[in-house]
């Protein structure tokens, strides 16, 4: 079903400003990574979240530090929305020892357990069963922690999707499945690879609620997520939310994006920008002023610059770090017999 309820007065001033700041952080962070990558300073693959900000932020607005999320290979936005430190993230993307995973993970594998961020994931659909595990733990322990599981339209065709959603449904796990449908699994169009019209329609077969929303409209995402998080906290089980969105950049940095049409790119980049729409919403609703939002944008510019500087000035790990953190302690000489 389409979520069409009115949006008025849905978002408090505090929440609205937090959402705006987080969306701007993601956009500026990702645009910067794009530029830095082009200069050859990033030593590995990156998949950028720019364009999809409304999804991660609209959902995570309802979470606390105690709640969990699982993420995807396109995980920077989820990390930022879950309050991961920009400096630690940027340093990780640079492969520095001050990174959130000490440089071992990189862009595709950022995790910050203290923030309830169970990890970006280079395996498509890999996070779905993990989310069921953290949700099961909360249920067993009797806490009101919720797990949000982000995955893409590519992930929705993996076997883990079926296994995870079915399990979460029969055990009524406190998990919210958020399908980020950006129209392409790598280069393959969604409608070629998926038999359904909407990913949300698949919820029906698990007897759980399924809604699809405009993933460019943060208010719509926020509203759908609130309902799903509340339902999970009440012990009523999982919800599947599909957010229809678009990635501003390619599947990965360096992708020629020949599969995208000029028209759709223009439509999404110029006319359906989630941040601009929300800016307009905040000012038109009288929640804040344009000047205040511009001040936030300037502050974020500064934060991102500081993150870049921190990453650039941080040291690389040393070769000894290769053999650490395999087990509780590492017993062998590392490969030479």
């Amino acid at each position: 079903m389409e979520n069409t309820e009115v949006k008025q007065n849905l978002i408090s001033k505090d929440h609205g400003l937090w959402i705006f700041r987080k969306m701007v952080q993601i956009r500026k962070f990702e645009d910067s990574v794009h530029d830095i990558f082009a200069k050859g300073k990033i030593p590995g693959f990156v998949h950028l979240y720019a364009g999809e900000e409304a999804v991660a932020v609209g959902v995570c607005a309802h979470l606390t530090k105690q709640d969990f999320i699982t993420s995807t290979h396109r995980g920077h936005g989820h990390c930022i929305a879950k309050e991961c430190d920009l400096k630690g993230m940027m340093a990780e993307i640079y492969g520095k020892t001050t990174g959130l995973c000490k440089g071992k993970g990189g862009s595709m594998h950022i995790a910050d357990f203290e923030k309830g961020m169970l990890g970006a994931n280079g395996i498509v659909g890999g996070g779905i069963p993990l989310a069921c595990g953290s949700a099961l733990t909360a249920k067993v322990k009797g806490t009101d922690q919720v797990t949000v599981c982000f995955f893409g339209d590519g992930g929705n065709n993996q076997g883990t999707f079926h296994e995870g959603l079915n399990l979460a449904a029969i055990w009524k796990l406190p998990v919210v499945f958020v399908a980020e449908n950006n129209g392409y699994a790598e280069a393959t169009p969604f409608h070629y690879a998926s038999s359904c019209t909407n990913i949300a329609d698949r919820a029906q077969s698990y007897n759980i609620p399924g809604v699809h929303v405009d993933g460019k409209d943060v208010v719509a995402v926020y509203q759908a997520a609130k309902e799903a998080v509340d339902r999970a906290k009440r012990g009523e089980g999982p919800t599947l939310i599909e957010c229809k969105t678009y990635r501003n950049y390619g599947h990965f940095e360096g992708d020629a994006q020949t599969y995208k049409t000029e028209e759709e790119t223009k439509d999404h980049l110029a006319e359906k920008d989630a941040i601009q729409s929300f800016k307009q919403y905040l000012t038109e609703e009288g929640i804040t002023t344009k000047e205040y939002l511009e001040k936030i944008e300037q502050e974020v510019d500064q934060e991102v610059q500081e993150a870049i500087q921190f990453a650039e000035e941080s040291p690389f790990p040393t070769e000894d770090d290769l053999l650490t953190d395999v087990y509780v302690s590492y017993p062998t000489d590392g490969g030479v017999a």
Binding site: M108, H109, G122, A193, S194, G334, A337
Partner: protein, 327 residues
């Protein structure tokens, strides 16, 4: 003879086999319209159409399973797993179905299928785009595991794999794709599965390797020749079944054996090779068998200094050869 890259040899073998036998088809993620993320299937959909070049959803289990089912019914599927790291969801189909089909059906059914997958590090791919997974399959009777190192062998072995009556895992080292170039005849030829090849003759130390590290061994051998150490290099080419005869012959040639692979040390193919030598050529040896392999860590770390430390290189191989030569 034309010189071509390792990856172009893959494409040429696929094209020629598809021209030769209409039962041959390819399937995988973005193999059609996009021509593969590494461009290995570039141009095939234009030539053979979407019935024979199938783009699949991101569903590795189904990709392998479809190949199993189609091959049982007489087709010759060549499934591409985009990165070898992504093969894990397909392991059930490959190990539980493909490998056992002939055995469990009393020879009534079999799976003449190929699974191609780029493996290995050195491309800044980090944890899930760099792994060597071959040893996970070399312990599975019923499968064949092929790991070519040169464009010539790529073309000849891929053709043999496609024509083979049993399931073949064909692992292509992704660092070799554009780095390694070599002569490849335009005409049709095959290289037999299960046969190793001496890539360099020598008398002091034998190096047994495959894939990218085979090239490191050849480079090291060149360098060491100037130092007066003569290195004999055997390219395994096929890891299952191993060419025992060639291994024993190469070991006996010098009496000093170094086995080199990027896959991690513990449980790697080197263990099996050294067991064969220890059991059947023990009295030919003049030194303990030595293995040089990737470190026993769960996956390739992201940071450049860590990846560099993880990866072998000609210097590391040369050092190990020198030590063995001095023994």
């Amino acid at each position: 003879m034309p010189v071509m890259s390792y990856i172009d040899a893959v494409t040429q073998a696929l094209r020629e086999e598809m021209q030769r036998d209409e039962k041959v088809f390819v399937l995988g993620e973005d193999v059609g319209v996009r021509g593969g993320v590494f461009r290995a299937t570039n141009g095939l959909i234009e030539e053979f159409g979407e019935q024979r070049v199938l783009d699949t959803p991101l569903t590795e289990s189904a990709i392998a399973g479809v190949a199993v089912g189609a091959s049982c019914y007489g087709m010759r599927p060549v499934a591409e797993i985009q990165f070898a790291d992504f093969i894990m969801p397909a392991v059930n189909q490959i190990v539980s179905e493909a490998a056992k089909m002939r055995y469990r059906s009393n020879n009534a059914w079999h799976c003449p299928m190929v699974v191609r997958a780029p493996y290995g590090g050195g491309v800044h791919g980090a944890l899930y785009h760099s792994q060597s997974v071959e040893a996970m399959f070399t312990c599975v009777p019923g499968l064949k595991v092929v790991t070519p190192s040169t464009p010539y062998d790529v073309k000849g072995l891929l053709k043999s794999a496609i024509r083979d009556e049993d399931p073949v895992l064909f692992f292509e080292h992704k660092r070799c794709y554009r780095l390694i170039k070599g002569e490849v005849p335009n005409e049709d030829y095959t290289v037999p599965i299960g046969k190793a090849e001496v890539k360099r003759e020598g008398t002091d130390v034998t190096v047994i390797s495959y894939g990218l590290t085979l090239h490191f061994a050849l480079k090291a051998a060149e360098q060491l020749e100037k130092e007066g150490i003569s290195v004999h290099v055997l390219d395994l080419r096929t890891l299952l079944p191993l060419d025992k005869e060639a291994i024993l012959e190469a070991a006996s040639k010098t009496g000093k054996v170094l086995i080199v692979h990027e896959d991690n040390l513990t449980g790697g193919v080197g263990g099996e090779v050294s067991a064969i030598i220890a059991q059947e050529a023990f009295f030919e040896l003049d030194a303990p068998i030595r293995r040089l392999a990737g470190p026993d860590v769960p996956a390739m770390p992201y940071s450049p200094p860590l990846e560099k430390e993880f990866m072998l290189n000609p210097e590391k191989v040369a050092n190990a050869i020198r030590e063995l030569a001095e023994f």
